[in-house]
Amino acid sequence: MLNLTREQLLNGAVVSTLLVLSALALFLDEPFYITLVTKVTILAMAGVGLNLALGLGGMVSFGHAAFFGIGGYVTGILASHALNEELLFTAFGFAVFGTTNMLFIWLFAVLISALAAALIGYFSLRTQGVYFIMITLAFAQMIYYFSIAWPAYGGEDGLSIYQRNQFFSINTLDPLSFFAICFSLLLAVIFLVSRLKNSHFGNALQAARQNEQRLAAVGIRPFGIKLTAFVISAMITALAGALFADLNRFVSPGMFSWHTSGEIMIFVLLGGVGRLFGPVIGAGLFILFEYYLGGVTEHWMLFLGVMLLTVVLFARGGIVGVLAGEVKHD
């Protein structure tokens, strides 16, 4: 007999809901809804990334838009060079071209964001609390204004990707196929985070969240643990950014803006800080509000704000906390 906790049951329900919704949309021949569910899936992944830093490591990054945007722009830049058959750059006598292969794009998106996160984290993690929030925000804003000022890739207008990138021989323009790719990646990322959470590294990270001095007293350098987690967190958010670019076939400086950082944080707070599937629920609610309330009134953010306040004031564990109770050990 399977002995599942309430949280595991809830997680199963969340996964099934995404699958059922996409199947229903297919059955009703409403591909738009598949795209909507795909959007939830991608934004959820960005939240899962932030949740690693915020939920497990206690690092309140208000600059994760930087990584989301880097993922997006790497996709846009590589694809636009490949589609226009232009050189990307030449280095050491080698000509480097763009690519429309998703696998390579993901790889570069993740690697470049890891570099950026290592740099940003190295400086930001010397501070704590409000200063950490402000300095991560400052880094993201720097990149935001840089992207606006850089005319080569559209500047303020953004950059269009004429066609979706390639993933083996799958027709990625087919909404269901693209959803399947995003959904599988989301599950893979969540699995990775759950393994990390229960590893020695994950324990040390949660210990660092509580008290860095105590962690140092058992011989572990808190800075290294936190920086590693920050970098992994950024890589996950960048992968989501790359998928988001392919979903919209368009990237713009908006991906770097502080609104994006705020939205990613809202997914985590609404769903449940530190809960594995929290960001999935958070992103789902966000899109539900945006789409349905947004259709009724342009002031839908007001209702989202009220909901966020309610959760923060009365349900600190977020929606997962309300439905599945306190964190239980598995």
Binding site: H200, Q206, A207, Q210, Q213, A216, A217, V218
Partner: protein, 234 residues
Amino acid sequence: MSVLLNLAQIATFYGQSQALFGVDLSIQEGQVVALMGRNGMGKTTTIRSICGMSRASSGSLHFLGVDISTLPSHQIARLGIGLVPEGRRCFSNLTVTENLLVAARARAEHNNHWDLAKVEALFPRLAERRSQYANSLSGGEQQMLAVGRALMTNPKLLILDEATEGLAPVIRQEIWQAVKQLKAAGQSILIVDKTIKELLPVADHCVILERGSTVFSGLPEAMSKTILQQYLGV
């Protein structure tokens, strides 16, 4: 016997105010040293200075001949100093087993004596609480967990700061029992405790601090009534 830890004339400040004015302390391998003194005389500051949490501004600190006065805390811990901080500081958001495993580190150059099973043999109560969060344990159990966590680093020197403070008599005895077992196994220990009649029987050597300076260093038997009265108020 070789010298494990040696502090010579260390002075430590908290901002502008000086807490230590000249502490001398030496621990031989296998020794249990009691660090004594009334409240506010610098016992915890001495420990914080050893562990690199507060920096000694002058004097020398050597552990196994290595100058540790400028090393960061985690490197000092890796050299082989296991701290049980004052006030049972467990990681309350981790389970008992996770608290122990965070500290576990196998090192080739050490004898990796301690593992989960050994800690649970020393404190059987922890075995019954494996998957409970540390914040759901009783005070005594948290203290046992803090000691176990320090042991998991396979320390050459174990530092116990007020390990029995505020605990019920039965639990205190369990902790003292464990200290005696550790001593019998040859573990070097630096121990701070307020209950002198329980502390003296396990101590090989006593050091008394008064206003941030070492005023006595010698065998427990060498402490006269006057010394006890003058410096410890008993």
